[in-house]
């Protein structure tokens, strides 16, 4: 790894390990942040479903959802000290082990959710239900992407020993 990348990594690690975020690092606060992020994702899905019927309020809603998402996700990353995203050289052996466990759990949860989504699509096709609107289709593509983005952080934050 070259020097500039290493410096950037150290800077990122130091920012995520900032003692000012210590209040967010208790298990109770982390659980609340995970719950808040789940709510944000559910609201995002609901807003996408409304986008065909009321485009303007839905776009305003989406803007609010994006802000809430950025805030919750940032707070959650600070609460886990970025263990799930930092490269190996910024972590010690315990954090490395923790990250491995978090990714293994995320994989299982993500695989389960993806299976559920594919099952829903299969049922939709078998029953020959009407084609869903653009919003639902967009949600079906974007939500798994967003979930994939936040799942390792959410699982790490749910861990007792982070």
């Amino acid at each position: 790894m070259n020097t500039s990348t290493s410096t950037r990594t150290q800077r990122r690690a130091a920012r995520l390990d900032d003692p000012r975020f210590e209040t967010m690092r208790t298990p109770a606060v982390r659980r609340r942040l995970v719950a808040a992020l789940i709510v944000v994702l559910v609201v995002e899905a609901a807003v996408f479903c409304l986008i065909d019927r009321a485009p303007v309020p839905a776009v305003i809603g989406l803007a609010v959802v994006i802000l809430a998402f950025v805030f919750c996700f940032g707070a959650l990353k600070a609460s886990t000290r970025g263990v799930e995203e930092l490269p190996a050289e910024a972590l010690d052996e315990r954090q490395w082990q923790l990250r491995g466990e978090a990714y293994a759990r995320s994989y299982r949860i993500g695989f389960g959710l993806l299976t559920l989504e594919l099952a829903a699509v299969a049922v939709w096709l078998i029953r020959d239900l009407p084609v869903p609107g653009t919003g639902v289709l967009a949600a079906a593509v974007l939500l798994p992407f967003h979930l994939g983005l936040v799942l390792p952080t959410m699982v790490t934050a749910s861990s007792r020993t982070v």
Partner: protein, 90 residues
């Protein structure tokens, strides 16, 4: 050989907290000297994390002691017992 479950892991006892207090070191100082996060020292002291052999050797080297003086698979005797012996011994 079937994979070993984590619940089957043997508990590893250590004297890190005692040695650190003896030498007046903070967790941060000890963590810096072995290259880990200060939280990891806390987890080690509470017995919630078992270190790799490399980390255990590094920690023992910081205190200038052999590894078996810092880590053990059986509980260490209390310091008072070692100094004064048990009532039965006395």
């Amino acid at each position: 050989m079937p994979p070993r479950k984590r619940s089957d892991d043997v508990e590893l006892f250590n004297r890190l907290a005692l040695l650190r207090a003896e030498r007046g070191m903070s967790r941060q100082e000890l963590a810096d000297s072995v290259g880990v996060h200060y939280q990891t020292i806390g987890y080690l002291e509470r017995g919630e994390y078992s270190p790799s052999a490399t980390l255990a050797l590094r920690l023992a080297a910081v205190f200038g002691l052999p590894m078996e003086a810092v880590f053990s698979l059986t509980p260490f005797r209390a310091l008072s017992e070692q100094v004064y012996g048990t009532q039965e011994e006395r």
